[in-house]
Subunit: 375 residues, 2 copies
């Protein structure tokens, strides 16, 4: 048997993965230098995976010279396997137990940390330990450094996300056959999950929403024992995961012949979505992107019923940069991948949401999602 070929392909893939991580580290080191930091301390799980490939629990310490992965007994063997380009350090105890000594040995004096990920208590204890141990170290809060890098997807990442989108699309089309009066929301959600995972999704990136009738008015509804009935909207929100990368898809169906109100609302949401898809441009403020869709809903008189943002970046996390909403300060750029998901909800009655994923390329949004929008 000639087993040479697949092995060679695997080696090339592994090599590419390592190259992309080296490039990411290079970009990160530029940011670290620009901010005048000696090093950056990271523990946000997707940031760790993005930079090192490590999927366990631990800490990265990145300086111009060092790339350290610090983890404990539980993960140290896994770390060696997943992060061959990192120096693996086995730690014991909490951050404040081991960090001051290590940082002192390395001669760092300005250490950035993830301010929206380290707890008040973790920061406080670390500060106390630095004082007690008389280490000359300044702790500098940072936010979003790696998250900003992650928001611009590389071709390889676009490839994984495209596969995750295709998988969710195919699972949705297959699931439609089982959505019929008499089945419960929970049963549908479980069937969808089985389809997703049997098609190769790595678990599911978030709990599937199947919300029928009045439940569809809850944007984050959990599937219940409620039986689906004819003459009701059914809102489905689902996603897949491939090589760590997520997809996110929402559709609202109507069981039986759609009534006039449903059709009207559905068409407004669809128009809002289409308007945003066509109007969104690179370099646009994310708040302006939200406004494109929101003004359609507002002009139809339902502004109050569209209570959430237009969308969010999707990557290793199902919610990441950029955030598309009225109060967002993010800006859009080529290479970003995000959802466009306007919705209209009436408490106690029902709701409609339509969600696609797009990638910004050559200044415009290209729609990745292909799932049908027939109701």
């Amino acid at each position: 048997m000639d087993k040479g070929k697949p092995e060679m392909t695997n080696r090339i893939v592994e090599g590419e993965k390592r190259n992309s991580k080296i490039k990411r580290l290079r970009k990160l080191r530029t940011s670290i230098a620009e901010k005048g930091l000696d090093a950056l301390l990271l523990s946000q799980p997707e940031n760790l995976r993005y930079l090192s490939g490590f999927t366990g629990s631990g800490w990265l310490l990145i300086s111009g010279r060092n790339a350290i992965l610090a983890t404990d007994f539980l993960y140290v063997e896994q770390a060696k396997g997943e992060s061959p380009d990192f120096e693996i350090i086995r730690i014991k105890g909490e951050l404040h137990d081991w960090l001051p000594g290590l940082v002192s040995d390395l001669g760092w004096h300005k250490l950035g940390f993830e301010a929206n990920f380290i707890s008040y208590d973790g920061y406080h204890k670390l500060g106390e330990a630095v004082k007690t141990k008389q280490v000359n170290l300044e702790l500098i809060p940072t936010t979003g450094i790696v998250e900003q890098l992650r928001s611009i997807k590389e071709p390889e990442e676009l490839g994984f996300i495209t596969k995750a989108v295709e998988l969710a699309d195919a699972a949705f089309e297959q699931a439609k056959a089982i959505i019929r009066p008499g089945i419960t929301e929970k049963e549908i959600a479980w069937e969808i999950e089985k389809i997703l995972r049997q098609k190769g999704s790595e678990g599911i990136p978030f709990e599937i929403i199947v919300a029928s009738g009045p439940n569809s008015a809850l944007p984050h509804a959990r599937p219940t024992e409620k039986t689906i009935r004819s003459g009701e909207p059914v809102l489905i929100d689902m996603g897949a995961r491939i090589s760590g990368y997520c997809s996110d898809l929402s559709r609202t169906l109507f069981l039986g012949k759609a009534n006039k109100t449903f059709k009207e609302i559905y068409n407004i949401v669809l128009k809002a979505q289409t308007t945003a898809m066509e109007g969104i441009e690179s370099a646009m403020d994310a708040s302006q992107a939200d406004r494109l869709a929101r003004s359609v809903v507002e002009q139809a008189g339902y502004g109050d019923a569209f209570g959430h943002g237009l969308g969010h970046g999707v990557g290793l996390a199902v919610h990441e940069f950029p955030r598309l909403g009225l109060s967002s300060f993010d800006s859009l750029a080529d290479g970003m991948i995000f959802t466009i998901e306007p919705g209209i909800y009436f408490a106690g009655q029902g709701g409609v949401r339509i969600e696609d994923m797009v990638v910004l390329e050559n200044g415009k949004a290209r729609v990745l999602t292909k799932a049908s929008k027939d109701t």
Copy 2:
């Protein structure tokens, strides 16, 4: 049809649930008063669920007089349904946008917050907003107030956990039939998950571990595409969830006739576990409980290969108070439910872990887990 009876039962159950939440609030209010706080701000999800029944994302504000649940558009309808005894407030924006005004209106001056759950950034922004808005408010870090309450289980909670333990036990016995040479770790994990969920588990509380051969030396291994072979240990770690409450079960099997080394290691781990189960008493330090098992492993000469703690509390979270480990400061008490899970691991070769759940009753540990320990 006489539908009177089930409805009445439901009403009684609902009534009991509300009563238990009222009792929990009463205990919490005693703690709040003892600490000299006007109110406590909470957002840790299991703490929210424990006190209010709310399973979405939001904030609780508890004072001697008020029980407020603050949440946004996405969850406000869900909150009304899940938390009938709370005053539901609809919020917009981040904590620092709405909290200072609300606290000022309520006349609170000393507000406790969850120091190991609020991020450095969240705390910092809140502090700035309090200053800018000239609100007379002191933010006081607290840790573990609700977690301590949660560590002592009520009879109803013991009931749910017992059901979750029974479900995992039954699923494990059923799954054993499919664990055979030729099947992959991932396939086994997915089969176990399907069994758990078809038997009524609410999702799974953590990713199932199926680790064979050398992989069993990774305490937190993820299932891989590795095929199970005869002559290998297979370590399985799995759990179920009932009414929000978790169970946690580990077993290590040997495919084919167990070799001498495996038998020796297995018997040491088993002896360590049995010694702990028999020796643990209420009022004992959790570090002392760990020592009971660890000294058995150490005396056998494998102390270095038992790199994690002896166990952890289990409840709404799969890891909660108490923590049983050498560096734990927790104390054991009647009503606590926790795992006893010694392990021995040799990197590159394999590992053995045996994990049962126990409840402390009348000063001693009663074992809840019934899954067989034949290898």
